[in-house]
């Protein structure tokens, strides 16, 4: 028993190093003095200062946040209404699979399908088309999360609200939505993060004038790496880590309600 246990422990330690060594290298190089992003010269915080005046990065960052926020709101509304509807009609497997499938379809297939569709309906590519495209797959994630939760709610709770004289609107906002809150928070965090990081679909469905942050990172990597990318990578890392931890905290609080 001990022999195998040790072997798997060795592999596990290797895996943790494997997962953290690359991002640690990026964080380390973000404090590099050198203007070559790949070679260490000495400690400096210069690149953290210059990044704020890097117009392409900053404006694409704003666009990315804008897309992620709008996508999150739309996906939450569409995903929640679909989930409530499917739950009320006691929908079978087909509609459930249909609504969650965009989360499983390879991004490349969805991307070129959407590109083709936008071209057929003569919709010019812009942030609007990116938002529509992101909302498609984020909705699927929201449905997956909310549908799992809504099935656990005692249907008599909504009936009790009606029985006690509440309107359909009041029942929705005072009874149903508070019950769904943990899954709505999870869905929102998922949508926001997925949209913010998404590259392939944005690459195909965005116009040339309005690149999002992942598109800017892509071209930075492709056409000459600048040291700012290390700083950017570090900042994104911090944002993701804080986001994940925050989401877990909020999730715990919401679950206890």
């Amino acid at each position: 028993m001990h022999k195998r246990f040790n072997l798997s422990a060795v592999v596990a330690v290797f895996v943790i190093i494997f997962l953290y060594l690359p991002i640690t290298a990026v964080v380390g190089l973000s404090f590099n003095q050198s203007s070559n992003s790949l070679i260490w010269k000495g400690f400096s915080l210069d690149w953290y200062k210059t990044i704020w005046s890097n117009e392409p990065i900053m404006s694409s960052f704003q666009r990315t946040i804008f897309v992620a926020v709008v996508t999150t709101v739309l996906s939450l509304i569409i995903g929640t209404t679909i989930s409530i509807g499917l739950n009320k009609m006691k929908a079978g497997g087909f509609l459930r699979t249909f609504s969650t499938a965009p989360a499983i379809v390879p991004d490349l297939v969805l991307a070129i399908g959407l590109l083709t569709t936008f071209s057929v309906i003569s919709m010019s590519l812009s942030l609007t088309t990116v938002i529509i495209s992101h909302t498609v797959f984020c909705t699927a994630f929201v449905v997956a999360v909310v549908l799992a939760r809504i099935g656990l709610i005692d249907p008599s709770i909504e009936e009790a609200s009606t029985d006690l004289g509440a309107s359909a609107m009041k029942t929705l906002f005072k009874i149903t939505i508070p019950q769904l809150m943990p899954s709505l928070i999870a869905g929102a965090v998922l949508s926001f993060t997925l949209s913010m990081d998404e590259f392939v679909i944005a690459f195909f469905t965005n116009g040339p004038e309005t690149p999002t942050l992942p598109m800017v990172i892509y071209s930075m990597i492709r056409f000459g790496v600048t040291p700012e990318i290390n700083v950017l990578g570090t900042l994104l890392l911090v944002i993701s880590f804080v986001g994940v931890i925050l989401a877990q905290r909020i999730g715990k609080v919401a679950d206890s309600i």
């Binding site: 596990a12 895996v15 679909i82 009320k88 009609m89 297939v109 797959f137 909705t139 699927a140």
Partner: protein
């Protein structure tokens, strides 16, 4: 008096709730994906887009040895990625599943955390590690193992390592989920009965983890096969995969139907794979 039954009313109400969203998904998910799959039989327009007539030329064009080689190459790279992920992911999942509850949570979070980082940044990190002046080459030179840097970047191996790095958590999580459910007494019982470590692994842990292994394989294989970013950035354009063909046909050659042909091939490979997965996983369940 209302004539319809209560259950019928709630069904109508359900449709009223779900319809707007379902229409949205039909317009921007179902129709795009399906029309894309059928686009391969159309002809390319002069400036991109598509026109009739319907023909099957694209399929004979796709059988050109150059393209067949790309498809086989993609399958090999995606398989190698999935197998490498399995080889290091399974022992890791096994190790985690035997820890105390508290350490299980800590390690699982540690494994998921990097996955929440932008995937371009994670890919870029390997540029930092693998380039000729990078940390690994420098380290090897400093300890005197080599005197000339090893060309690690822009090789198929770099692509495989990069994609393994990107998708490894997707292999570990389902295997861990399967192993975590396994009754620990089972493996202990196997030892009591005089099983060797290897035998108990082979006869108890691996069969019970099989559904998780299959899902993990799919989770890693699918995004690897359709990837065009990693081959481009870490393969330096020398490693071409199906995803690169689709991207180039759509954005450079502007031959959308031909690009759609490769997307269709990609989708078909995945459908076949997922069917095999669900078939095998059903058989495993029956046996277990």
């Amino acid at each position: 008096m209302v004539k319809s039954g209560g259950s019928k009313t709630s069904r109508h109400l359900g449709w009223a709730w779900a319809s707007p969203g379902l229409i949205f998904l039909t317009l921007f998910a179902a129709i795009p994906v399906l029309s894309m799959l059928f686009m391969s039989v159309l002809t390319a327009g002069r400036f991109g887009g598509v026109t009739t007539p319907i023909n099957f030329d694209n399929f004979s064009r796709a059988t050109d040895p150059i393209f067949v080689k790309v498809i086989i190459n993609s399958l090999l790279i995606a398989s190698a990625t999935a197998i490498l992920s399995l080889l290091i992911g399974f022992p890791t999942a096994l190790f985690i599943s035997r820890l105390s509850r508290k350490w299980q949570v800590i390690l699982i979070v540690a494994i998921i955390l990097p996955y929440w980082t932008n995937f371009l940044v994670r890919t870029y990190a390997w540029l930092v590690l693998l380039n000729n002046e990078g940390i690994i080459n420098k380290f090897l030179r400093n300890i005197g193992l080599i005197d000339k840097p090893i060309e690690m970047l822009y090789t198929p191996a770099a692509v495989i390592v990069g994609m393994t790095y990107l998708y490894l958590p997707l292999m570990i999580l389902p295997i861990y989920a399967a192993l975590e459910k396994v009754d620990k007494n089972l493996t202990e019982a196997a030892f009591d009965l005089g099983s060797s470590a290897w035998k108990s692994l082979r006869t108890i842990s691996i069969p019970l983890a099989m559904p998780g292994i299959l899902i993990g394989f799919i989770f890693v294989f699918v995004p690897s096969l359709g990837n065009f970013v990693v081959p481009e950035l870490l393969g330096g354009g020398k490693t071409v995969m199906i995803g690169n063909l689709v991207r180039d046909q759509f954005l450079k050659a502007r031959d959308w139907p031909f690009g759609a042909t490769f997307a269709l091939i990609l989708a078909l490979i995945l459908v076949v794979l997922i069917s095999i997965q669900s078939y095998v996983s059903k058989r495993v369940n029956v046996n277990a």
